[in-house]
């Protein structure tokens, strides 16, 4: 049966993971994001930098469908947010990997179980997902800390666990808010390179950070945000420059 004509799905099929046009959003009476135009594509890594309270975290919340659309048009993973039902929003969220600035965990569960949670939610059985989760644990360098309750691991290990959890369900769009917070500069840059590598498996990556020096870690499309207004800085350099 032929698929009905849907421009949002066509956009998604052409590799556009998120397209925002003239978007306003905010909390209560305050409008935080103003007239945002943005696009994220498969295989691209966007780096959004800006000072504290510029709207970076709010923008990430918007991309993970946790903020209301007040004006403009937003299409994320083929879904027009203005018309999406709660069930559709939940379905889209399952395709988004989100690493919060202060990630929330089930504190008394092990990091391993927390990382496996998106897979459990998807109905996978432990014997099926365990090897994948172990691979992720190695990928983010969590090591033996994975078997400890999250309440017992360090801040940097929590961040690694959050990244592993965000990647567990093989998301199409990866959102990372301030990934280097609480890490040494070296560790932070390693983590950012690692996240940028996800572009090679067909995901789009959006990273928000105050640290503008991260720009030389990977072939980023650079954006700047200030007082809720997002502007494109420059074009990405060829990926080969970072090999």
């Amino acid at each position: 049966m032929a698929r009905p004509n849907n421009p949002d799905l066509d956009l998604y099929a052409s590799g556009v993971l998120a397209r925002l046009t003239g978007v306003d959003s905010g909390y209560g009476g305050a409008t935080v994001l103003v007239d945002i135009d943005f696009e994220a594509r498969i295989g691209e890594v966007a780096l959004i930098t800006g000072p504290a309270a510029a709207g970076k975290t709010t923008f990430m919340h918007f991309l993970r469908l946790a903020m209301p659309l007040r004006a403009g048009r937003a299409t994320i993973l083929g879904v027009d947010l203005a018309r999406a039902s709660p069930a559709t929003r939940a379905r889209v969220k399952r395709k988004i990997g989100y690493v919060a600035e202060n990630p929330t965990f089930i504190e008394h569960w092990s990091a391993f179980d927390n990382i496996a949670m998106p897979l459990k939610l998807g109905g996978a059985k432990a014997k099926d997902y365990s090897p994948d989760v172990r691979e992720l644990v190695d990928f983010v360098g969590l090591g033996a800390a994975a078997d400890l309750p999250v309440e017992q691991i360090s801040g940097a290990e929590r961040r690694r666990a959050a990244i592993a959890r965000a990647l567990a369900a093989k998301p199409e769009l990866i959102l990372v808010d301030d990934p280097t917070s609480g890490m040494s500069p070296g560790d932070g840059r390693r983590i950012v390179r690692l996240l940028a590598e996800m572009r090679r498996v067909g995901a789009g990556v959006v990273i928000a950070s105050q640290d503008q020096t991260l720009a030389d870690c990977a072939p980023f499309l650079r954006w700047s945000i200030d007082r809720g207004r997002l502007t494109r800085i420059d074009e990405a350099e060829p990926a080969e420059a970072y090999e």
Binding site: G28, A66, K93, R94, T104, I106, E107, M117
Partner: protein, 286 residues
């Protein structure tokens, strides 16, 4: 199994268990009141007194007894002796009455078989006595229109009172189960962030609360059952096991079965509502 039930969960379990105990005990108490009222009503309707107006003296009493032996509804008849009258008067008057002071009575106590709702029992007996040449009145227990029928009101009060109390306990269980959902708020938040729907997130918490409610309800129901048996044993110390089983089966098991089911449903509903609220909050930060 580490931390299977610890801290707040253990306190919550016992809160639910005691609520279930109270509801089941109230149900058992209501059933006991209902049985007593029903037995009282049966006894009241199964007894009457025949006052023989004519012929006077022993001949009239003999004729009446003979007629009553074949009268409809009458299962047994016995003339009221002076001693029996003295006993009844002492019960109601409170003072000791000498049987020798009571004159010869023209009264016969009769036991009646259960009759249909529109049956004129007194009329049938008076007619039978008349056929035997006796003029008499039959004095039955007053009916509802005469201000009697207290048993019916007592039974209704027991039923609706215990139902209202059960609902109150269910409300307490439901509110207490919200505490469990609050303890699981981080789980709801994480599930929501990972794309769980409201029914998925709330359902998981509701299932956990329902299982806890079921276990607590079983414990509460068991405690109520044991308390009921202990009370029966205290009230009827010489009753056999078979007699006690006859007393309590099968309807009195209803409150004990309803306790775990009701506790599970109320706990599940309370936790589901709270978890749904937390999901809504987690899904939208703006």
């Amino acid at each position: 199994m580490r931390n299977a039930l610890s801290g707040v969960e253990r306190a919550l379990f016992w809160t639910l268990a005691f609520a279930a105990f109270a509801a089941a005990a109230a149900g058992l108490g209501a059933r006991a009141v209902d049985r007593l009222a029903a037995a009282y009503e049966d006894a009241r309707h199964g007894y009457a007194i025949v006052r023989v107006d004519a012929p006077d003296g022993p001949a009239g009493m003999a004729a009446a007894e003979s007629a009553l032996a074949h009268a409809p509804h009458v299962t047994s008849a016995a003339p009221m002796t002076a001693g029996r009258a003295a006993q009844i008067l002492a019960e109601w008057g409170g003072a000791s009455i000498n049987a020798a002071d009571i004159p010869a009575l023209q009264l016969i106590e009769i036991d009646l078989a259960p009759a249909g709702p529109n049956t004129d029992v007194s009329g049938d007996i008076v007619a039978a006595l008349a056929q035997g040449g006796v003029t008499a009145d039959v004095i039955e227990a007053p009916d509802n229109d005469a201000g009697a029928g207290m048993a019916g009101r007592v039974r209704a009060a027991a039923l609706w009172g215990s139902a209202a109390f059960g609902l109150l306990m269910a409300l307490i269980v439901s509110l207490a189960a919200r505490g469990l959902a609050a303890r699981r708020r981080e789980l709801v938040t994480v599930m929501t962030d990972l794309g769980a729907t409201r029914s998925q997130a709330a359902g998981k918490i509701a299932d956990e609360a329902a299982v806890l409610g079921l276990q607590a309800g079983l414990a509460g129901g068991l405690m109520a059952g044991l308390a009921g048996l202990a009370l029966l044993a205290a009230v009827l110390p010489h009753a056999s096991f078979a007699a006690i089983r006859h007393l309590i089966m099968p309807l009195d098991l209803a409150p004990l079965i309803a306790a775990p089911i009701g506790a599970a449903l109320a706990a599940g509903a309370g936790a589901r509502a709270a978890a749904g609220y937390f999901h809504r909050q987690a899904a939208r930060v703006g």
